[in-house]
Amino acid sequence: MTQRLPNSFRVGPNEHGHFGIFGGRFVAETLMPLILDLEKAYATAKADPAFQAEMNGYLKDYVGRPSPLYFAERLTEHLGGAKIYFKREELNHTGSHKVNNVLGQIMVARRMGKKRIIAETGAGQHGVATATLCARFGLECVVYMGAVDVARQQSNVIRMEMLGAKVLPVQSGTRTLKDAMNEALRDWVTNVHSTFYCIGTVAGPHPYPMMVRDFQSVIGIETRKQMQEAEGRLPDSLIACIGGGSNAMGLFHPFLDDPGVEIFGVEAAGHGLTQLHAASIAGGRPGVLHGNRTYLLMDDDGQIQDAHSISAGLDYPGIGPEHSWLHETGRVKYLSATDDEALAAFLLLSRLEGIPPALEPAHAIAKVMELAPKRPKDHLMVVNLSGRGDKDIPQITEILKGRKQK
């Protein structure tokens, strides 16, 4: 890569929302004034100690933060290498890291006087978090979810509805996360005056990738402190799964300027990188979709290709723009794990640690299984356990039943 390396990896984006060539504001004119308003509202909130204090209060007493940094003793023994720690985001209220971001955005929405919240969701975890905070603050909530995901994440659909949200199954395109996002954008264009779009990952037009990253950075900030307390030093490596990349960015960002910390993102390799998958860095190239320039899966005509992953939360043909930049600068290494590897990791973790992970972080665990044995015993490895597996148990039961019958 010919690019000059920056002095700091933590200063982006610039005032146009660019991380290198990535990011930007590729949206319809109808949305543009609102996006500029949001940028201002967020900058004001960020600088306001009262906003931070209010958010910290809810993070502590409503979300249940800080989430523990847990030494996974039996997994460490089993793999026989690096000392493995879990950042336990699955213990948050609503069962994943998604709530960190939703809380922040809902508080910004309230400051902007918006009464109607829309969201897209894949696995349903972002939808559940949004429905939860809308219930808490008495806001109308509409969640777009691909029809395929509605079928494979039923328990989350039921949960969202119980929380008072309206879940709208999306029948267009591939009927997964990408199409849910298209449909949410269509709703937003139509209801731009009343509505706040609560995006679930570090994607979308500027300022979303930056704002979502900031709200998720609590993960990495806590990890630094907790690791100091546990081991008296920084970790040697970090690893997290990537759908759009918000749990990963939240863990990584506070460590980007610590050159001694190796960082790995894990994309979903689906059936394998030569077949249907969702690994946009491994198998894609830069393009423009959903408001930003980033690595995307597409054909030679620039048509977006279908992604595939066993995990609804990773089944997206793109990745947040800051990740694309971190890839091109070489600061973060992007790996991928297949459906089968994730499933094996899910089962191993359930049996060894009594923690069934969501299928999304099971992809990160799969790479821990590969990397940890090659590292020395004093190597400190942190994996982001971004969500719990309860939502996936029916889907996994079906898959295992199917295998027995074969």
Binding site: F26, V27, E29, T30, L31, M32, S172, L289, G302
Partner: protein
């Protein structure tokens, strides 16, 4: 630089009437029928032709135009073939303005410079790219102007007086006023409200103003043509095309005629309008 668009509006000004601007998707329902339809449009009464460039993820379009894009892609349409279609049209018509409308990614992947030069050579006059606001002018707008193509910007009900100058700054050919906050195929806006919006934009620019989104009938086209310099009709034409297809989604003997007949009715509507004195 005078493009076919500028020449056409100069002509219409002399005739004292507004333009009928038609939108159809390139390659819908198949490349050959699509070219036949486009060729039939000027005679039926279309003054300016917008051709959609199919894209898998058209986030500002409603179900009709989404489906049209998917039909076209399924029939093997792509950006290269869209430009071929333009060349095919230009063989027999060198005056009707052609505007390509769509999303940025296929152009970005084709290569901006190559696209602009191929489009200009093929006989394209202007571009409308939904997901390129003025904030991203460096991407395509400025290079397009340099290449001699009009870059037609969308102004919307959320574009307030403070923002309008930025939106109009690098706009050329005409201004496309999106009459509603919403996607294509939504309900029509109240014509009085639209008239006021057109007057507001006219205070900021001398460019012709065409109004689109939600115009489905000759009556609605006529009402818009009373105030604006053009009425854009898309979804209604795409629906007429779609209704003419057989159960397998293939063109029938009626397909070209159905579209042309609706265009003729819309043209009558537009031509029936009294233009406000300039």
């Amino acid at each position: 630089m005078t493009t076919r668009i500028d020449a056409r509006f100069a002509e219409l000004r002399r005739e004292g009437r507004a333009a009928l601007v038609t939108f159809l998707m390139a390659g819908d329902p198949d490349p050959k029928t699509s070219l036949d339809i486009i060729k039939a449009l000027p005679k039926a009464g279309a003054d300016i032709i917008e051709i959609g460039m199919p894209f898998t993820d058209p986030m500002a379009d409603g179900p009709s135009i989404q489906a049209a894009g998917l039909r076209a892609l399924k029939a093997g349409m792509n950006l290269k073939k869209t430009l071929e279609m333009v060349r095919g049209f230009r063989k027999s018509d060198n005056t009707t303005p052609l505007v390509l409308m769509g999303y940025y990614n296929p152009i970005y992947i084709y290569g901006v410079d190559k696209f602009l030069s191929d489009a200009k050579t093929a006989g394209v006059d202007g571009l409308i790219i939904v997901d390129l606001p003025p904030e991203e002018d460096g991407e395509l707008c400025l290079p397009a102007l340099k290449a001699g193509l009009n870059f037609i910007r969308l102004a919307t009900p959320t574009t307030d007086d403070k923002r309008l100058p930025a939106v109009l700054a690098n706009t050329s050919g005409f201004v496309y006023y999106v009459s509603i906050t919403g996607i294509t195929g939504s309900a029509a806006a109240d014509s009085k409200v639209v008239g006021e919006a057109v007057s507001r934009i006219q205070r900021h620019t001398k460019l012709p103003i065409c109004v689109g989104f939600g115009i489905r009938t000759p009556q609605a086209a006529r009402a818009v043509a009373e105030n604006a310099n053009g009425a854009v009709v898309g979804t209604a034409l795409v629906d007429a095309l779609s209704d003419s297809l057989d159960a397998a989604g293939q063109a029938t003997a009626r397909t070209v005629a159905e579209v042309a007949e609706l265009v003729a009715l819309l043209a009558q509507g537009v031509r029936g309008a009294r233009q406000a004195a300039e």
